[in-house]
Structure formats: structure tokens, C-alpha cells
């Protein structure tokens, strides 16, 4: 089955970020979204460890390890960067001042529940800022492969893994489709042209609502 690469999923998510938005990108895969901002669409990125409006990664050897993102990767400052402490930073998050948060997922349920912090009781649990971010933005979106490495659905009727947040996700960008969560249902908005609705439904763990218009999910080679 054809599917989008992570870069392509990130590209698609980036297209929905309105110019001038304040955006927080989760650690890891979501960080890729920043590089696919449409030209001239200036978004401002927030990292919860205390920087607003940071820039891209420095060249190797030019890192300043006091200028890092939430994933502890080196970033850079830009004209208009601001520094602040953790309480102010999470005031931005919890207070609803971010326009968009884009997060990864282990599972997303059709009611908007998200599981993305724990794969169960094994090992050392670590939550970081995930539970704050899911309540922090006007729009909480997820980017994810449509299925797990074993081919199991990540979009499910109800999450089986420990929850990060209840009813918080409104849009999911997957390797196969763009899906909104509305009224506790998965609503299909876009899908790869090469995949039928039936095939998509077969790898989705809850019923897809199919509106009259489903757009083609067209993404450049990346």
C-alpha cells in the first residue's frame, strides 16, 4: 500500500498552519513540521523550556547548549526571540495562547482521546510536557503513521494505552489520510488517491464517516 513518508506527513500538517500562528511542535517527529512552512507564512514556534520564536538548528560545532528545544536539541535565536521561565512558558500553554500544537501519537480514539506518553508499565515512565500541551492550544493535531509497525490501527475506537488527554485531538494527519474528529467520530477529509475508502477503513480501528466530498491527499516528493 502506498503511504506518505514522515517528511510528507509533516509537510501536509505544515500547510494548515496559518501565517502568524503560535505553534508548539512535540518532541521528535513533529519537529519536522517547522521546515515545511510555506514560504512567507511566518509562524512563531514555542518550546516549553522557555523560548518563543526560535530558529533552525545551528551548524554542527556552533551549538550553544543553553539555547535548546524541549527535545534538548540545539536551536538558534531569531530577531524577536524571547526567553522566559517555565511557569510563564506553561502559562502560554495551559492558558490557551498557542494556536496549534502538533503531537505524535501511539493511539488516537474517535472521541479525541490521545495516548502518546506511555506504552505501559514496563520501564521508566516519562511524561514531560505532553499532558499540558494537549490542553494548551486552540487546535491540537496529531501526525502519525496510520498503523503501527505491526500493521495494527493507531486510530481506534477507544485507547488501550495510558491516556495523555481526554477528548483533546481535533485533526489527525496520517501516512494515508487527513481525518477530523467531530462529534466523537472520525470524519475523512483527504485520502491518498491510490487508496480506496474500503482499504482505508480496513486499517482504521473505528468507523470512518465519509462526507460527500473527500479531497485527494496530494503531497510533493520530499
Amino acid at each position: 500500500m502506498e503511504k506518505l513518508s514522515n517528511n510528507q506527513i509533516a509537510w501536509r500538517a505544515a500547510q494548515d498552519i496559518v501565517a502568524g500562528s503560535y505553534v508548539n511542535l512535540g518532541i521528535g517527529f513533529p519537529e519536522k513540521v517547522a521546515q515545511y512552512q510555506p514560504k512567507g507564512h511566518e509562524a512563531i514556534f514555542h518550546t516549553e523550556n522557555g523560548i518563543l520564536n526560535f530558529g533552525e538548528s545551528p551548524k554542527p560545532g556552533e551549538e550553544d547548549w543553553d539555547v535548546i528545544n524541549a527535545g534538548k536539541k540545539a536551536v538558534t535565536i531569531r530577531p524577536g526571540t524571547a526567553f522566559f521561565h517555565h511557569a510563564d512558558s506553561f502559562a502560554m500553554v495551559r492558558g490557551g495562547h498557542l494556536d496549534v500544537a502538533i503531537l505524535g501519537a501511539y493511539e488516537v480514539a474517535e472521541n479525541g482521546d490521545l495516548a502518546n506518553w506511555s506504552t505501559g508499565p514496563r520501564g521508566v515512565p516519562a511524561v514531560g510536557g505532553a499532558m499540558d500541551l494537549v490542553h494548551g492550544a486552540k487546535r491540537v493535531a496529531v501526525i502519525t503513521d496510520h498503523v503501527t509497525k505491526d500493521g495494527k490501527p493507531k486510530l481506534v475506537k477507544a485507547c488501550t494505552l495510558p491516556l495523555t488527554g481526554v477528548g483533546c485531538v481535533t485533526r489527525i494527519y496520517t501516512s494515508l489520510a487527513v481525518i477530523d474528529i467531530e462529534g466523537g467520530r472520525f470524519v475523512l477529509r483527504e485520502k491518498l488517491p491510490s487508496i480506496s475508502v474500503e482499504d482505508l477503513q480496513a486499517v482504521t480501528g473505528a468507523e470512518l464517516v465519509i462526507p460527500e466530498t473527500v479531497a485527494d491527499l496530494i503531497v510533493p516528493e520530499l
Binding site: 501565517a19 526571540t81 526567553f83 510563564d88 502560554m92 495551559r94
Partner: protein, 243 residues
């Protein structure tokens, strides 16, 4: 990104009847006189906005700024900590005549409620006011043997704020004790409107010294030589000020 607007009238254009408006300042320090006067100008010309709920530490002084806003009949309710002042005639007369509502809040609780509104904290506990008339009707809880009063967040539709320097992204600095409630109100309002003495390019303010990051600011208007309420009152000025 450029949050500056051309003039004061545009800056206050989004304020509608019945809205809750936070106004920065403690006494005269940090009071955005020009934004307030622009709002009164609009009311005089159009009859709107009226029936406002205003949040400020005080109730205005003399016949300028917040006092003039109240005097113009635009304020239905005031939420403040200290509505007494050296020259409080405007508020006092309306209040004693029962024509303006007052919610009296201890100053630290007022500050914390505004911060909570901005930080997404719907309620918190404080020792302040426990056992007093101002705690009446509020839930009380004991923690480690001490009693605390539960207070709710305070949010606004609009905040009117006075800053010293703004960059075009809305990053702000203040001047001395004119800071007071201004940074908190920036956080707690859906729309924060700032008058700044100086507007500079992004990057012109050291990122270490920014007090209000731009995410909390929606509109900026330049007022290069703002009036200081205290100076106006010492000169017995009244709204409208002579040009």
C-alpha cells in the same frame, strides 16, 4: 508579522458593549491614558461601548483616564482593590448613588486571579481574606492545618496596557513601577491592546529583558509622549485634553 495599528481609534475599535476590559496601572503609573481617552472619544461619537466591566487596581483620580471613563457613564461594574484615592469624586458619587457596581478584591488576590486567568488555572486557594467579610460565600479548605479561601480566575475580552517599548511582534518592556498589573493583564485578555512609547523592529529588544512575550499581545499603537495621570491631575486637567 506586524501587530502595530495606525492610530488609537483603530486600537480600541474591537471593544463592544458589555465587555470586560482590564486596564493596567497602579494609581497613575502604567495607566494607558491615551487608549482610555480614545475609547471615550468613540463613546461620545457613537454611544458605544457602554455597560463595561472594568478591572483595575483603583477607581481613577480626578477627571482623566479611568475616572473620565467612569464619568462618561460607560462603566457598569468595577472590579478593583482600592477605589479610594486623593480625588475620587467621580466613582464615589456614582457608587453612593447606587449607579455603579463594585467588586472589591484584595490586591494580591486580584493580581493572582488575573494571572490565573492568563495561565489556565480556573481556581486557586489563598490565605488572603480568610475569616473576613470578603471571603463570604467562598469555599474554604484546610491544608496542613491552615485555612484558605478558594478564588476564581479573572479573564477579560480586552486589556488596555501601557508599555515602554514594543517590537512589532508584541514583545514588551515597561518602565519602573509602571509595570504593575500590565504584564498580567496581557496574559488574561482575549485581545491585548498596547500603547508603547517606542516601537522597534523585532530583535531590537534583548530577548533576556523582554517582560511580556509577544504571544500575549494582539495590537500595538505608538504613543510617543504619553501623559502621566499624576501630572495631569496635578495640573487639574480634565478629559478631553487640549491638543
Amino acid at each position: 508579522m506586524d501587530k502595530t495599528v495606525a492610530d488609537l481609534a483603530t486600537a480600541v475599535a474591537g471593544i463592544e458593549d458589555g465587555m470586560t476590559v482590564m486596564i493596567g496601572g497602579f494609581g497613575g503609573a502604567g495607566s494607558p491614558i491615551e487608549l482610555i481617552h480614545a475609547l471615550i472619544d468613540r463613546f461620545r461619537a457613537t454611544g458605544h461601548p457602554k455597560a463595561l466591566t472594568v478591572v483595575n487596581n483603583n477607581a481613577g483620580n480626578g477627571h482623566v483616564g479611568l475616572a473620565a471613563l467612569i464619568e462618561a457613564g460607560m462603566v457598569r461594574k468595577l472590579i478593583c482593590s482600592f477605589p479610594r484615592s486623593a480625588d475620587p469624586v467621580v466613582f464615589t458619587e456614582l457608587y453612593l448613588a447606587g449607579r455603579i457596581e463594585l467588586e472589591l478584591v484584595p490586591q494580591g488576590t486580584l493580581a493572582e486571579r488575573i494571572r490565573a486567568g492568563g495561565a489556565g488555572i480556573p481556581a486557586f486557594y489563598t490565605p488572603t481574606s480568610f475569616g473576613t467579610d470578603l471571603a463570604k460565600g467562598k469555599p474554604v479548605e484546610e491544608f496542613e492545618g491552615r485555612s484558605y479561601v478558594r478564588e476564581r480566575w479573572l479573564k477579560a475580552d480586552v486589556a488596555l496596557v501601557k508599555a515602554e517599548t514594543a517590537d512589532r511582534h508584541g514583545n514588551l518592556t515597561y518602565r519602573a513601577a509602571a509595570r504593575n498589573f500590565n504584564p498580567l493583564m496581557c496574559m488574561a485578555a482575549a485581545q491585548t491592546v498596547v500603547q508603547a512609547s517606542h516601537i522597534v523592529a523585532p530583535g531590537a529588544i534583548d530577548p533576556e529583558v523582554i517582560v511580556t512575550p509577544g504571544i500575549f499581545v494582539q495590537k500595538i499603537v505608538q504613543v510617543s509622549h504619553p501623559h502621566q495621570e499624576e501630572d495631569l491631575n496635578r495640573a487639574n486637567a480634565t478629559y478631553p485634553l487640549e491638543a
